[in-house]
């Protein structure tokens, strides 16, 4: 999947299996990614687990879990808010489009989470105060959180190389024989319909069409961009044009 971190780094990652996105004093988010095609390194998100930790008089611990073809409008215990405490309504799930789009508002931590199902796969977006992002007991011993630290180097896909290859080898078809083929021109034309600005959302869309042939990924990129427009606090930084590529050994996965 394509990851835009809290520091506006943009990466395309393999990250097959379960990976933590966020882990702080208030919130834990984990995604599970599965290959979009048998034997492919390209994966997409098939499951999202969100745990809101117990917090004072506001909320009990609540877990939300979305899977392919199952986007609930309630927490796993069936409730739609933070439980029985006096401030329980400071956490609530709102259904935007049945089976396609939910929003979780966690007012007690100033956080909004958007989960969508687009095609078969899930997308995730969050707006969170910096102070909450950094609220961890022991920063030095913190593990990997993709939203904060980006993907490890060995999980990053050299998107630029792929992009160049695809452009140079046109009209070569990508993917296996079972995939609906997209030429580079077809992919760019399709993505331009939804994403007129040739930023990294547009490029991600092209990448996804070339690797999978699944036109639903056009919508995934489109909605991801719509979510950034809604959730990002700096309107001048909504578009990103230069992806984070720091593949030198020993360097951090993302530029902080």
């Amino acid at each position: 999947p394509h990851l835009r971190t809290f520091t506006d780094s943009f990466q395309t990652c393999k990250i097959q299996g379960a990976w933590p996105l966020i882990d702080n004093n208030y919130l834990y988010v984990q995604v599970t990614n599965t290959p979009v095609l048998p034997g492919s390194t390209a994966t997409a998100t098939s499951k999202i687990t969100i745990i809101f930790k117990n917090f004072q008089e506001c909320v009990d611990q609540k877990e939300y879990q979305a899977e392919m073809d199952e986007l609930p409008t309630a927490f796993t215990d069936g409730s739609k808010n933070g439980g029985d405490k006096s401030g329980a309504n400071s956490l609530k799930i709102i259904e935007k489009v049945a089976g396609q789009h939910i929003e979780i508002q966690a007012k007690y931590i100033g956080t909004t989470i958007v989960v969508r199902q687009v095609g078969r796969y899930l997308t995730f977006a969050v707006r969170m105060p910096e102070e909450v992002v950094n609220a961890v007991e022991d920063k030095d011993n913190q593990g990997l959180h993709l939203c904060l630290r980006g993907c490890p180097l060995n999980q990053q896909i050299d998107f630029q190389n792929f992009h160049t290859q695809a452009a140079e080898s046109r009209p070569r078809r990508q993917g296996s024989a079972t995939v609906e083929p997209f030429t580079y021109e077809m992919a760019t034309a399709k993505c331009k319909e939804k994403l007129p600005v040739e930023d990294l959302y547009f490029q991600s869309c092209v990448f996804d069409l070339l690797t999978t042939g699944d036109v639903n990924f056009t919508l995934a990129a489109y909605y991801a961009f719509e979510d950034v427009k809604t959730l990002h606090s700096n309107k001048d930084k909504i578009h990103i044009f230069e992806r984070t590529r720091d593949l030198r050994p020993g360097n951090r996965a993302s530029r902080q």
């Binding site: 997409a44 008089e57 977006a125 910096e130 030095d140 606090s233």
Partner: protein, 120 residues
């Protein structure tokens, strides 16, 4: 080295109109432990910094003086700007459950960040 930020956070949590005195020892210990946590986080970058080493020794002394144990809860970051010693008010007020309201009342507006994951 961000030791001064740790120190100012500690002062903010323990001074002001509702300053924490001896009668609020548990709250004071919580603030002290938070201060200790904060200094530990800065240890790598503050090596050799006089203010840092003073703070480390100062915290140790204060913890001994107030009989604070090293293990125990630390104050939550967003609570440190709330008036101290008003746990009853915090418990009953829905304001504590509204981050922006409680934050704006006592501090600068929060900075928000965004993270997203999509596609293949």
């Amino acid at each position: 080295c961000r030791i001064l930020k740790c120190t100012s956070d500690f002062w903010a949590a323990t001074s002001g109109p509702h300053h924490l005195g001896a009668e609020e020892a548990p709250e004071y210990c919580i603030a002290l432990r938070a201060y200790a946590h904060c200094t530990r986080r800065t240890a790598r970058t503050c090596r050799g910094d006089l203010a840092y080493h003073s703070a480390v020794h100062g915290i140790e002394d204060l913890m001994n003086n107030h009989n604070c144990s090293k293990d125990g809860p630390t104050s939550q970051p967003r609570l440190r700007t709330l008036p101290a010693g008003d746990s009853q008010e915090r418990s009953d007020s829905p304001e504590i459950c509204h981050y922006e309201k409680s934050f704006h009342k006592h501090s600068a507006p929060p900075n928000y960040t965004h993270c997203g994951l999509f596609g293949d």
